[in-house]
Symmetry: C2
Amino acid sequence: MAETSEKERRILVAVDEGEESMYALSWCVNNLVFENSKDTLILLYVKPPRAVYSAFDGTSYLFSSDITATMDKYSQQVAESVLEKAKRLCNNIQNVETKIGNGDARDVICEMVQKLNADILVMGSHGYGPIKRAFLGSVSNHCAQNVKCPVLIVKKPKDA
Amino acid sequence: MAETSEKERRILVAVDEGEESMYALSWCVNNLVFENSKDTLILLYVKPPRAVYSAFDGTSYLFSSDITATMDKYSQQVAESVLEKAKRLCNNIQNVETKIGNGDARDVICEMVQKLNADILVMGSHGYGPIKRAFLGSVSNHCAQNVKCPVLIVKKPKDA
């Protein structure tokens, strides 16, 4: 693998508020990224579309510009805080970039893989039980089916 | 990653007759396995259940013992030939083991991950177009959802 470590791989890691994505990132840092390599780790956080904030009953509402501005600010703060936490897990890696996307995570992740020319996509699986799997697991399933690069899906062990 | 290369990881790679699984194996050898590490690469080939040989129209037939013996022999030869080809792709790796399983690939791969205490499962995705994806992609989907260790799904690029 001596030759490989000379490659400049672009490793895209999708992170979110969940512990599983942070576990996936740690796993990636420990098992996939070379400490002194030219690998670039790109941390991607996807902000959900605005309607989601108000769509608890499946509908959405019209908000005043004050409220939407507050929500946008909050959403940006969450994004920055997640990426900050993620970056702390990568302190041995020389090249770390962060990106914030906007929209349906499934679509944004697939688009970013292509746009950023990623060589690998790393993500948590978001699903243990059958119900979680059916709903939340769809992000990693969708990406695994739709991106062209290799996809690494990491589950957080129950005892980790 | 210096510390990590000291780990003895058990990397299970599911291989079959298709070019995609050989591509997945090469990718794994070049991107995941350390040349001088204690990593063990386990190559797994799963022989389909016997009924499949005769189930082209969805039914199965009863065969004489001569015919089933011939079919079993052929199936074993295919397995050995695939594993031989796979081993040639791993000639830089010190620890390579081979395993032959029997049955539905989805179940056997998941069982083997657990039985062999694999740290990572690597497999091809078996699917580009929507039809291939719906049918054949189900092996990698199923495994990604059901095994507990990280799963790496590698697609063969169209130009590779």
